[in-house]
């Protein structure tokens, strides 16, 4: 083998090696799975613009369609406290709220207990249950002593945070 072939093979192999490394990193870059951060202000701006473009305003004299009332709330939103703005989608499983890292919603809040409260679905309703917390869970102004059904829009207070079920 000539010296040139050897050099070409040597450098060609290094190129192949780095090609693989860069391909793997390229997959990683595309593969940053998990959660997507959506800026609310941007989305709201889009929403105010888009109806004007897509849907014509309802004809005068005819009332717009009555929004269909959905029975089930679809998300749990933190409306006040350090995590304000956090949204959890509601599925069929219960949501555990507290300071322990194992909770679904982890509060970094000295006023909440490690396993503070649980929000769970039963018989088509969502219920809130206090798990023996030190400072209590409040539904509106009432302290939760037993599993209580929650209506969308009612405020649930856990430590320094306020949560709300929304459609």
């Amino acid at each position: 083998m000539s010296e040139l072939t050897i050099t070409l093979l040597r450098l060609g192999y290094l190129v192949l090696l780095w090609l693989f490394v860069l391909a793997a990193i390229g997959v990683l870059r595309r593969d940053l799975y998990g959660t997507k951060i959506v800026n609310r202000r941007l989305r709201r701006a889009e929403r105010t613009v888009s109806p004007a473009v897509t849907a014509p305003p309802p004809a005068p004299g005819r009332p717009g369609p009555i929004p269909r009332r959905e029975v089930n709330p679809r998300r749990l939103v933190v409306t006040a406290g350090p995590l304000r703005g956090t949204t959890l989608p509601l599925s069929t499983s219960a949501i555990l709220i507290g300071r322990a890292p194992s909770c679904t919603l982890v509060l970094d809040d000295d006023y909440s207990s490690s396993r503070h409260a649980r929000v769970f679905p039963q018989d088509g309703d969502w219920w809130v249950e206090d798990l023996g917390s030190t400072n209590g869970t409040f539904l509106g102004r009432e302290r939760v002593t037993e599993p209580t059904p929650v209506r969308p829009g009612t405020q649930i207070r856990v430590g320094q945070s306020t949560l709300e079920l929304q459609r």
Binding site: F20, A23, A24, D31, S91, S93
Partner: protein
């Protein structure tokens, strides 16, 4: 103000197949280049070798499609590439040993171990449907892990090779039980820490900005320290001892997020190492060889000298920026070029450019492990995946640091590259476990709840109320149907 919305995850199996093709091309072309350089022709068995490697890797890929469709797409190709590079380098050193009429035949054995390792990984993926099953065996794992570590001390079973007593001899093959022991102990550490981390993370006194633990919570770390010192004293192996203590401290940090544990661990280890270097000559020799490798007395010492280290450094220097090319260097001049010093051999023939690529591959592997740990929903899986990723990265650091004279040389193996059956088997099992955990980490929640899907829990009915998903309290119900 921002909201967090779940992102749609693609399984990524076709991406994996594409990367796998590149990785196999790397391994097979390295093998061909070695043959070309040494004999002037392609190796006679290149097609058999290529077909075997392709068959095994694609087989594992198909097992993933079948049993873990959402597993991470980068882990398997990275590992196949590393294993292929290691095989080619061992084959190359074999040829050099044969030319010098020294004992050879490492490549065939390593090929056998690779095949066995990949089959074992497939078996783990098929049999273990949910990694949370392992949590049931937390304390069994402790007993088994400790037994595996002390196994080489059993008279008649353990053998002493080069002063270290970490091998057992079974049916003519020597085997390092500690390699399997590190996985088993990681199961125990993960299970133990997930239950007890709240106690260990409790606030103690605060000194110099460090949140120290309470003195009475120091028990477990002192126990792990004493055990690793016992390994150092009784089996006279610095590497194994360092690995176990490092694993424990690393997982303790993962579990508690307290820097103070790392500080305490480092202080204990440095203290122990200094003490050991005073008391035991074999540890002291390592320190001398590290600090003064170019002294004649150290270089020419029969045992524990710096000859190997210095020859490895000259090999790396000979490689330079772009290396000598496959089969063009003289890595066989370094003792144990196929196992302890395979990094120096690769550095000589692929140069700094190639060695950095290999290190980036390890970085990618460790990152995928840690990303899996972040993504998975249960605490046990988080700690276990984090621990496994840490072990791979830690071994790399200790080996490459030793070869490049950053830290004293210890007898650890480079995962997937170095010659050694037990290490290869253990690391393939680690890969299978990481793939299994990453499957449940990346699987969308909707499919997790779907009945009949892999890793399904019993869907609780409305009477009992649904169990909190992903809870990892001590009372967690682990309900995995036998498949």
């Amino acid at each position: 103000m921002a909201t967090v919305a779940p992102h749609r995850v693609r399984p990524g199996r076709s991406v994996e197949l594409g990367l796998l093709a590149l990785a196999l091309a790397l391994g097979v072309s390295a093998y061909a280049l070695v043959g070309l350089a040494e004999t002037g022709t392609l190796p006679a068995d290149i097609f058999g070798y290529g077909a075997g490697l392709v068959g095994l890797s694609v087989g594992l890929h198909l097992v993933l499609r079948w049993r873990a469709p959402y597993a991470d797409p980068v882990i398997l190709p990275t590992v196949v590439a590393l294993n292929g590079l290691g095989l080619a380098m061992i084959y190359r050193i074999d040829l050099a040993y044969e030319a010098r009429e020294r004992a050879a035949g490492f490549a065939e054995r390593q090929l056998g171990w690779t095949a066995l390792g990949m089959v074992l990984a497939a078996v783990v993926l098929v049999l273990l449907r949910d990694h949370r099953t392992l949590r049931r065996y937390t304390y069994t794992a402790m007993v088994v892990g400790l037994a595996l570590i002390v196994l080489p001390l059993v008279p008649g079973l353990g053998t002493e090779i080069n002063g270290a007593r970490i091998w057992i001899r079974v049916a003519g093959n020597s085997f390092q039980p500690a390699e399997i022991g590190k996985i088993v102990l990681a199961v125990f550490f993960a299970g133990y820490l997930v239950t007890n981390r709240d106690t260990l993370a409790l606030a103690g006194p605060k000194v110099l900005g460090l949140q120290l633990p309470r003195p009475r919570d120091l028990g477990p770390i002192l126990l792990a320290w004493a055990a690793s010192l016992a390994v150092l004293v009784l089996e006279r192996d610095l590497g194994t001892s360092l690995l176990f203590f490092g694993l424990f401290v690393g997982m303790l940090y993962l579990a508690t997020e307290r820097i103070s544990w790392v500080a305490i661990g480092l202080a204990l280890f440095v203290g122990g190492a200094l003490l050991a270097s005073r008391v035991f000559t074999h540890v002291g020799d390592r320190f001398d060889a590290w600090l003064h490798p170019f002294d004649d007395a150290n270089f020419n010492a029969e045992f524990g000298g710096s000859g190997q280290l210095v020859r490895g450094l000259y090999g790396l220097a000979n490689g330079g920026l772009f290396g000598t090319g496959w089969g063009q260097g003289r890595p066989d001049l370094v003792p144990w070029a196929e196992s302890d010093f395979i990094v120096a051999s690769l550095g000589e023939e692929l140069g700094l450019t190639g060695l950095l690529a290999i290190l980036v591959l390890y970085l990618v592997l460790a990152q995928r492990g840690l990303r899996t740990a972040i993504g998975v929903r249960d605490g046990f899986g988080k700690l276990f995946a984090g621990g496994m990723a840490f072990v791979v990265a830690f071994q790399c650091f200790v080996v490459v640091g030793g070869v490049t004279r950053l830290i004293p040389l210890t007898g650890l193996t480079m995962p997937f590259l170095a010659y050694g059956g037990s290490s290869l088997l253990a690391n393939w099992v680690i890969v299978a476990l990481l793939l299994r955990i990453s499957d449940s980490a990346r699987r969308p929640a909707s499919e997790l709840a779907a009945p009949g899907g892999p890793g399904d829990d019993d869907v609780p009915d409305a009477v009992t109320g649904p169990a909190p998903a992903g809870s990892d309290q001590a009372t967690e119900l682990i309900d995995v149907r036998p498949s």
